[in-house]
Amino acid sequence: MTLPATGSTSPARAHRNRWARSGRWSGWLWVVPALAMYVVFVVRPLTLTVQYSLYHWNGIGVARWAGLDNYLTVFTDSDLLKIIGNAFVLIVFFSFIPVGVGLLVASLVRRMATGLFGTAVRTILFLPQVIPLVAAGIAWSWLLSSSGVVNQALRAVGLGGLARPWLGDFDTALPSVGMIGAWVSLGLCTILLITGIGKIDPSLYEAARMDGAGPVREFLAVTLPGLRREIGVCLTVTVIAALASFDIVYISTSGGPGYQTTVPGLEIYRLAFAQRQVGLASALAIVLMALVLLCVLPIQRLTREEKG
């Protein structure tokens, strides 16, 4: 790797002038390696995805111009629409549940998650963030299987009638996949919110109590506004995780039963590499990217901290 060595190789006089002119341009050398990798492995493929999306192509033979046909299919095919809908259902589980539970926990433990107990709790709640999503998928497939813990517990309390293979049942498959995602995101959201709540000025709470606010009023008037930014971060991260989900679904259900748990990420993979419909897969990929932006930008805008 060549690095710019301004100054050491050229005459020392007029050093600062040279820095002002050529030096500024030689600064580009610092950016070029990163830029090159980014262009070759992100920008070029992304441009190609756009291009593929305008063709009918099986990946090997001749590509036929399709215009916007593939996009039309994405927005009219009932299976594909269902698949996109599934991703939005997952947002409820991957994002809303962890943020909701996290808020509840954070406000309960506002001044409690300290000491050894606090460290242990933080560490353990974080485990799901650290292991591969694939592992989460495998562990929960076992938990939710016919002979798994969930059914075992139901039978133990006399609710054996509810027992079922949760991930294989048409009605429960998607919520079950969602619960796996909730399990993964919960730790990150909770700890982020606990950290955020620790930064809220305690005098605000005292003032609220003096005004006679109960826990609910206190939560709505002090905690919630104070955590605006953290909530925004949690939502951004988890909404992207929900829309672009792949690993958990691939491992736990492979999208089934039927299209019950298929998500765009999985369908892109299947269309491109199993069904050889590269054009349609690419159109779905572009739509997915647009959906992520459409969801994330408003969250960013709504929760950005106003500069006082």
Partner: protein, 274 residues
């Protein structure tokens, strides 16, 4: 202000419940992994005669030695290079204020929320053209590129907050840009670089999509990719699957438990910035 007694108790009970739910999948896998092989385990039952030997079997069957080596090689290929070039770019964009820095930065930002699924199809054909399919380079090279939006964003955020006076003083003393970077800015950037290293390690180790698309041989994949293959192969043997999954998980868990403070900090900061 003290919390009321009931608040203390509710809070603790809630936290303990959450901890139990978090641990349940691991414990349940352990209880299944210790059942005699060939049996069909049920839920959470502690075996009367725990078969610790199952882990040894799984170690051999999963080819753990090869998997660890492969993941290690991939991490060694991705993380140092990605961290170095992201740091350099962050320095160039954040501190040197090179002409067009703002434009280049926005260009990098475009990739920040992009799901990997959006580029996986062309990446496959591109890697095929390079003749690298089914080699570790097929995972290493694209990951370096895919990590650049975040890496550059992260390091630029650090460098832009370093006061300009620091460099001006060094310039007056006649430092070259390289000396300036190496002697003054790199030491200051150490915490930011450490966090970035942890995040990239974790994301590389756990990368699944690129591994299954670009590499067929599971012993040339990341840990997550290998785990996927293991599930495909042993999905019906619940005892072995649980033992193998726990084994494949263990390296990450060990690294996490050793560096847990840094991990949590890095992941929290990482999500705040990302």
């Amino acid at each position: 202000m003290r919390l009321s007694r009931s608040e203390q108790v509710t809070g603790r009970v809630f936290l303990i419940l959450l901890v139990l739910v978090t641990l349940l999948p691991f414990v349940s896998m352990l209880s299944a992994a210790l059942q005699p092989r060939g049996t069909v385990p049920t839920g959470l039952t502690w075996p009367s005669d725990p078969q610790w030997g199952n882990f040894a079997d799984a170690f051999t069957v999963a080819n753990m030695g090869a998997l660890l080596k492969s993941s290690g090689l991939i991490v060694a290929g991705v993380v140092p290079v990605a961290v170095v070039i992201a740091t350099m770019a962050g320095f160039g964009l954040g501190h040197l204020k090179i002409p067009g820095a703002r434009f280049v930065f926005v260009f990098f930002l475009l990739g920040l929320t992009m799901p990997f699924e959006a580029v996986i199809t062309p990446l496959y054909y591109q890697i095929q053209d390079f003749g690298l399919l089914n080699t570790r380079w097929a995972i290493i090279l694209p990951l370096i590129g895919l990590f650049m939006p975040f890496g550059v964003f992260w390091m630029r955020t650090h460098f832009i907050n370093v006061p300009a006076e620091l460099s001006e003083a060094a310039r007056v003393d006649g430092s070259s840009t390289w000396q300036l970077f190496w002697r003054i800015h790199l030491p200051l950037a150490r915490p930011a670089i450490a966090s970035l290293t942890i995040l990239l390690f974790l994301w590389t180790w756990n990368q699944f999509l690129l591994a299954i698309v670009l590499v067929d041989d599971s012993t040339k994949r990341t840990m997550a990719g290998a785990l996927g293959a293991f599930q495909g192969q042993w999905g019906t043997d619940q005892v072995l699957l649980c033992a193998g999954s726990l084994l494949i998980l263990t390296p990450t868990l060990i690294v996490f438990l050793i560096f847990q403070r840094q991990f949590i900090k890095a992941l929290l900061q990482g999500s705040v910035k990302g």
